[in-house]
Subunit: 226 residues, 2 copies
């Protein structure tokens, strides 16, 4: 199974990390993989473009099946390897509904993080506005409060869609980890802080921790005032 | 079944339309529904906020299960009503992989449409730049060419993930319909044009066609030069 899978990835990219967590959870460790450098523009290399015409990472292949979008690859892995490793879609309709809901809210959560932390990277210099960055920060704070509330409502020691670790955690945990890497305050967001501290010890997540975060564990201060 | 379902929706919103197509496909016509007006800001009403704290449409409820994100609701409906109506997830791994891949590429497709057609609505006047809108248009053309190529490769009379109509069509068709409503040229994008002309006759899509498009079938010219 694992030997039929190939993943091209970049360190610290939440989309790549999602797929790596799913692979670990499904007991597929040992897949073929290659770490590429965003800085050296290796995501625009022929090797990537031959799998992913968008020139983005992850690029994922299982046999002849190419599934590059990170959410797509996670859903594909759970569906194709249903009986292997951990079950990532819960059985009950209510739990499934909450899982899907949080997965897709997770896309907004990620976009809003990018719109603040990578504002200068995403927006050319002559198009930047303090008013836009200020608004993006306000939107991000509103979003963070929503997730604080979701965790509060579920109670301690739960996951994003209830008791079990599900695809919602697979796809949203890397975003939450990025928030704390960029300096989010666990004092100000205690439920997210508790979730992060607990879930980061999970074996699938330890096994896929971004290598350049291990080399340089320093916390940045981009989000310290958020 | 259908009587346990409630949908609050707005006319012409691709996210709302996705869920309505899924409901029709799963044989759930007759669900409770209420058409709300974006213009009158009814998506920010107490009625919506009590289901969807984001104040967005669709707002969707099945029994006590609330699933507002449109992709989430479609996945939930297929999973919960697997045996009803039409099967929307194909059986084979290759077809499933392609379906998930196209579904999630569909989010970029939609975002890039919005970034052009609703540029003035999304960006405050003092933050607008011709250079940004020009770039957004170039990005949109590149995206359209990708989808033209996908359809070309699959051959005539197919759907987005192969022979069958799947969740990829459920979630991406409303975006493609919006492109043509905003004046995209079927001469310039013949594969998308053929797909649109064929799939719009599908019963689930005819049954859920945006009522204000029926009232005013005129084609806008926003995308005529794209």
């Amino acid at each position: 199974m694992a030997q039929d899978i190939t993943l091209l990835w970049g360190s610290g990219s939440p989309p790549c990390w999602r797929v790596m967590i799913a692979l670990e959870e499904k007991g597929l460790a040992g897949y073929n993989q290659k770490l590429l450098s965003f800085e050296n523009m290796e995501h625009k290399s022929e090797e990537v473009l031959s799998l992913n015409p968008r020139g983005q990472l992850p690029a994922f292949k299982h046999g002849d099946v190419i599934v590059n979008e990170s959410y797509a690859a996670c859903l594909y892995l759970e569906s194709t390897f249903k009986a292997s490793g951990n079950q990532l879609v819960p059985d009950g309709a209510a739990e499934q509904g909450l899982m899907y809901q949080r997965m897709f809210e997770g896309l907004s959560f990620f976009d809003k993080l990018i719109a603040v932390v990578f504002y200068n990277w995403v927006v050319p210099e002559e198009e930047r506005h303090d008013s836009a960055l200020k608004r993006n920060k306000e939107v991000l704070i509103t979003e963070l409060k929503l997730w604080e509330g979701y965790l509060e409502q579920l109670g301690p020691n739960t996951h994003l869609a209830g008791q079990s670790f599900t695809l919602a955690d697979v796809v949203v945990f890397p975003t939450i980890a990025a928030f704390f890497k960029f300096g989010l305050s666990a004092d100000r967001y205690p439920n997210l802080g508790e979730y992060y501290a607990r879930v980061k010890e999970r074996p699938s997540i330890r096994a896929s921790w971004p290598p350049h975060w291990l080399e340089n564990p320093e916390i940045q201060d981009d989000l310290k005032d958020i």
